[in-house]
């Protein structure tokens, strides 16, 4: 079986869940090797091995943290050139897609973005994508070079397959462009005990009907009762009621949880594009003609300020 490079998404060595999903998918199509860029490789190696990484390439260079995208693309391209992998899997984050894009140009390889599934096929890895606001499913494969595939969060359930990975430190010759875009300052987003939007099994979102930042607590309380992430529609974010990092939709985060609860959200195409692939969809809205009701497995026509608190109370009662 061919080697599959998996680019590790991490924060100072803490491996994020999408990487574990990528390692799980990589085992279906070959033998996974993790590519770890930045600081904290020691802390990450055990986790990467537990999910099946046979090898961990480590690039510990300041450029990776201080400059945007290009150093990471340099490192991944250089490792790919010497390892000649059968495929490269990258998380579908903003950075991940752009790293994939640059590596594709450099290696002369085909690129598929935002896969929701990857399986072994006759012509190499076969991907599935969800396109046009999730109204179409597309099956595709790469026909030139090393397939580079960016994979959306929640594409697979992480499965352990313990291995003791060989660790290989790689020294990268960075391109002249690597230091072109400097990250001058970073401000960490407020830490929350709630799960991350892209990774959560359940998402509870509020929209225009929430009618004010101070009312979002109604959404948050139901989310906390369910151990869910909190989302918001573009209307709610544009009104300044909830942070942009929580926006669900075409230009925000696209989620695909087991359960999506939309409260006070009408269901414009912009929003549907971000949540339509959720397994179960539930909505509360006072307008019975709201388009969101066309998608629901269960809907309640009513005032969210009455229905949501009652729901919260009932969830806590049933726990």
């Amino acid at each position: 079986m061919g080697e599959i490079l998996v680019l590790v998404d991490h924060v100072d060595g803490a491996v994020r869940k999408p990487t574990l999903e990528l390692l799980t998918l990589a085992r279906r199509i070959g033998e996974p090797s993790a590519v770890f860029l930045g600081k904290g490789a020691d802390a990450a190696t055990e986790t990467l091995g537990r999910y099946g990484a046979q090898k961990v390439y480590v690039v510990d260079a300041a450029e990776v943290d201080d400059y945007l995208v290009v150093p990471k693309a340099d490192a991944l391209a250089q490792i790919a050139e010497s390892a000649s992998p059968a495929a490269i899997l990258v998380p579908s984050s903003a950075d991940g897609r752009e790293i994939g894009a640059r590596v594709a140009v450099r290696l002369g390889s085909g690129l598929i973005t935002d896969a929701v599934d990857v399986v072994a096929g006759e012509n190499g890895p076969e991907t599935e994508q969800s396109v046009f606001a999730a109204t179409y499913q597309v099956r595709a494969h790469v026909t030139k070079g090393t397939p580079i595939i960016t994979v959306k969060p929640n594409a697979a359930t992480p499965e352990e397959a313990p291995a003791t990975p060989a660790v290989e430190a790689v020294s990268v010759t960075f391109s002249a462009a690597a230091t072109g875009t400097k990250i001058v300052a970073t401000a960490a987003r407020e830490k929350s005990d709630r799960p991350e939007l892209t990774e959560a099994d359940i998402v509870v979102s509020g929209g225009r009907g929430v009618n004010g930042a101070e009312n979002f607590v109604v959404i948050e309380r139901v989310a906390d009762a369910l151990g869910a992430a909190v989302g918001a529609s573009r209307a709610a974010v544009d009104a300044g009621w909830y942070p942009h990092s929580h926006q669900v939709g075409q230009t925000g985060t696209q989620v695909s949880p087991q359960l999506y609860i939309a409260a006070g959200i009408s269901g414009a195409i912009q929003h549907r594009a971000g949540m339509q692939t959720s397994k179960t969809i539930v909505a509360v809205n006072k307008d019975e003609d709201a388009p969101i009701f066309d998608l629901v497995d269960y809907g309640v026509v009513g005032d969210l300020f009455k229905v949501m608190p009652q729901l919260e109370e009932e969830i806590n009662k049933r726990k």
Binding site: D9, V11, L68, V69, V70, A94, D95, R97, E98, A101, R102, A104, V105, R106, L111, T113, D114, V131, A133, T135, Y136, Q137, V138, A140, H141, T143, G145, A176, A177, G180, T181, K182, I183, V184, A185, T186, A187, A188, I202, H244, S245, Q250, T251, I269, T280, V282, E288, F293, D294, V296, D297, Y298, G299, V300, G302, K306, V307, Q310, I315, R318
Partner: protein
């Protein structure tokens, strides 16, 4: 200085979009328009000029004859001229092919700053700005929520994957801007009239010295094996709250084992 804004003519995102038999996007049965996300790029380019940067704005699009509509709309919002790259051999190009055409056209036009939207509303890959920057060998400053240009440096703020970041690069550079940069202006009547007099240069692959076998569907680096319409979600039960809506909803969630 020279600013090039890349724009795309796309099938209307609010219509029922679909595919042709060869796996390419169906552009016939749905009306097309300037991609909404590119309006933010146009707006930011205009604001950079209005902030006092002396620059000429050129819009660039690759697409069939009617893609000129997207350029007319952009020119009606402001800016100076446009380039339309059109060639029968371009049809079906993927992002790698399209980025090659755009990069060659940008080089031909000359540039200090290339401004793109964050993604198209049809393909929605969001990879072209990075590919163009890679091909031009210049820095990329992408997914900006705020952008400014001063003294040959482009600065901006972006929501990175785990933190909010302030980034900067020296020109020449490629940037992309999000829908958080601020509402795009509507073309005024005067703007629409003025746009009719602004020059639109027509180029084909020969003009850009690109071989036809480098682009188009046959040169595509990936292939669609099947495109199937997702079955419409079957509408489930919708009840009207008569005082027990929350309890009923909880019962549904419990039956589905979410509680």
């Amino acid at each position: 200085m020279k600013i090039v804004v890349c724009v795309k003519y796309v099938p209307d995102a609010t219509a029922d979009r679909g595919f042709n038999e060869d796996g390419t996007t169906d552009r016939e049965s749905v009306d097309s328009l300037l991609s909404e996300l590119d309006e933010y790029a146009i707006e930011q380019a205009l604001q950079i000029v209005e902030s006092g940067v002396e620059a000429e704005i050129t819009y660039l699009t690759v697409g069939p004859d009617d893609a000129r509509e997207a350029l007319r709309k952009a020119l009606a919002m402001g800016g100076d001229k446009a380039i339309h790259v059109s060639d029968d051999d371009i049809q079906g190009s993927d992002a790698l092919g399209t980025s090659l055409i755009l990069a060659k056209a940008i080089e031909k036009a000359g540039f200090d700053l290339v401004v793109c939207g964050m993604a198209s509303t049809d393909g929605a890959m969001g990879v072209l700005p990075a590919m163009i920057a890679e091909r031009l060998g210049v820095p990329q400053v992408t997914y900006l929520d705020e952008v400014s240009v001063e003294g040959g440096v482009v600065k901006g703020r972006r929501e990175g994957d785990v933190a909010s970041e302030t980034v900067e690069a020296s020109l020449p550079a490629v940037i992309s801007v999000t829908d958080r940069t601020g509402e795009a202006r509507f073309p005024s009547f005067k703007g629409i009239m003025a746009a009719k007099k602004k020059p639109v240069e027509e180029l084909d692959l020969d003009d850009l010295e690109i071989d036809s076998d480098e682009v188009g569907l046959s040169a595509s680096w990936s292939t669609v094996d099947a495109a199937t319409a997702r079955p419409a979600r079957t509408k489930g039960e919708v009840v009207t709250d008569e005082g027990e809506g929350g309890v009923q909803l909880a019962a549904f969630l419990a039956a589905k084992k979410f509680i």
